[in-house]
């Protein structure tokens, strides 16, 4: 299997698996004051330190949650009933929860998915939330500049770093953000665990109440095993400086695939800006060929695993809101495929994809009702 859907979820890395198996032997409730409780709590605090280190935060600024979606919901819950501003390409857990609880202003993006001047959208808002890097096309925002603008206007700043974590170097102090969402299963850790960076001194309110855990910031018995796995994945990232590997090893492979697609697949286009997007992500569209069909043929015939922004695959019957925000063209969204690479993706994997992709796309274009100009 050629797995190129790392942005959806990454396989569990060996270190994380080992740490989790080892944590399964711990049977104390980490909140308990007896020895087994302390042993479990030590594992949790070690993990917290690694995660803090990964973004240059203090351990006490890291709150464990059940994942990115809970972290994002926690943020909109803090600002319930308030005016906030969020970008048009946020993850649904920001967009939908903001609409549910807050009075959000939606900040548009340009064709490359970049949030430009936010002055007009943040007047009187208590919070601005803009993701560090987008999950579908990989656009990285200038968070440092955006946070500065928000602060000058009296708003706090949250960034969802779920996709960016590990792929690029992140420093919360340099970015000067107040809150940051993190997720474990995009960096080789387990699913079901995430974190929220909360800068010392900024407003906070627990989303899940009814327990004293996490210093009263989140109720619920600690997930020792998942936290251990997340910590091990963070440690791996720190020790290997994986953002450098993404930059030096993964980026050229991603660029090679982009180049070959443009050259070898008729009527293809690239939706990700290769200069400014995350190094491991490539979103493309294939005119007249529908994304879900491409995805399933790649799966069935090439054993290549990718994802699509087509409405057919979304579950809600709507094409990707990200590609709609950037291109404004439903056909581009319906016909899109996202390739996301991992640290162990090889050039042979790119060759393998290109063995199958052109034929599949040409076949779908051949039976499509959408007319494409004949090649010269």
């Amino acid at each position: 299997m050629i797995y190129l859907d790392y942005s959806a979820t990454t396989p569990l890395i060996e270190d994380a698996k080992k740490a989790m198996i080892s944590a399964m032997e711990l049977h104390g409730n980490p909140s308990a004051l007896h020895t087994p409780g302390h042993e479990a709590m030590n594992v949790i605090e070690d993990a917290r330190e690694e995660i803090a280190k990964l973004i240059n935060a203090q351990p006490e600024e890291i709150l464990f949650t059940s994942g990115g979606s809970e972290s994002n919901n926690t943020i909109t819950n803090i600002f319930a009933g308030e005016k906030i501003a969020v970008s048009a390409i946020e993850h649904p857990s920001v967009l939908e929860s903001a609409k549910l609880r807050c009075e959000p202003t939606i900040i548009p993006v340009n064709e490359q998915g970049i949030v430009e001047d936010i002055h007009d959208y943040i007047l009187g808002t208590k919070l601005v939330s803009i993701m560090l890097a987008n999950n579908e096309i990989g656009t990285i925002q200038n968070i440092k500049e955006l946070a500065k603008t928000a602060h000058e206007s009296g708003a706090l700043f949250h960034t969802d770093a779920t996709q960016a974590l590990g792929k690029i170097k992140i420093d919360v102090k340099d970015l000067d953000v107040d809150y940051m969402t993190l997720s474990s299963h995009k960096i080789g850790g387990p699913i079901g665990i995430g974190a929220l960076y909360i800068k010392k001194g900024v407003p906070f309110q627990p989303f899940i109440v009814g327990g004293h855990q996490e210093h009263g910031k989140r109720a619920g018995t600690y997930q020792t095993v998942n936290i251990a796995g997340f910590g091990a994945a963070a440690k791996y990232a720190n020790n290997h400086q994986i953002w450098d590997i993404y930059d030096q090893k993964v980026r050229p492979l991603r660029n090679l695939l982009a180049e070959r697609i443009l050259k070898e697949v008729p009527f293809s286009s690239i939706n990700s800006n290769l200069e400014t997007a995350l190094p491991h992500l490539l979103n493309c569209s294939f005119k007249a060929a529908e994304g879900e069909s491409i995805q399933l043929y790649l799966d069935a015939e090439g054993d290549v695993i990718v994802s699509t922004g087509s409405a057919c695959a979304s579950g809600d019957g709507k094409p990707s809101h990200v590609l709609m925000a950037t291109s404004g063209d439903a056909e581009v969204a319906h016909s899109s495929i996202r390739f996301s690479f991992g640290l162990d993706t090889t050039e042979a994997d790119v060759d393998h994809v290109m063995e199958y992709l052109p034929g599949i796309v040409k076949r779908l274009q051949g039976i499509s009702t959408i007319k494409i100009e004949e090649e010269a």
């Binding site: 529908e290 879900e292 060759d351």
Partner: protein, 163 residues
Amino acid sequence: MTTAKAPKTAKATKATKATKTKTAANGFLAGTPWVYTDIVKEHFLHPRNFYMGDESQYQRDGEGIVGNPICGDQMLMMIQVDKETDKIKDVKWKTYGCASAIASTSALSELAKGRTLDEALRITAEEIEEYLGGLPKHKFHCSVLGHDALAAAIKNYREKAAN
């Protein structure tokens, strides 16, 4: 590309070409939990009666098109009619759409072939779904459109015949 086909010793999970096919068959084709039935998969992977390429080359007695690429699905049905028997001699189709759209159009083409025009007009979306052994609910309304295209093709044929 021989490099892609070669066994990869570095990664135990990566298999040779032969086992790759097997993995694909086990994963996608076989009865693993998947949103589509085996018949849908069969019609998606091996569609019947589609027309590849420039359809202006196909001699047809009637044609109908429904759907919209903006919504993600569009189907064109083209029919040849035996004027003596009023039966559909041949059907060819084109589709822009998801697996369910391709499979349901392929299934419809099989259902329609050999029927009289009146019989063909009675083919419903439910009959197509039944033929396919079921479709995911959220797929049904958007992707089973072919019978409307077929009805339009029959109407188109009858209008032309009347003139």
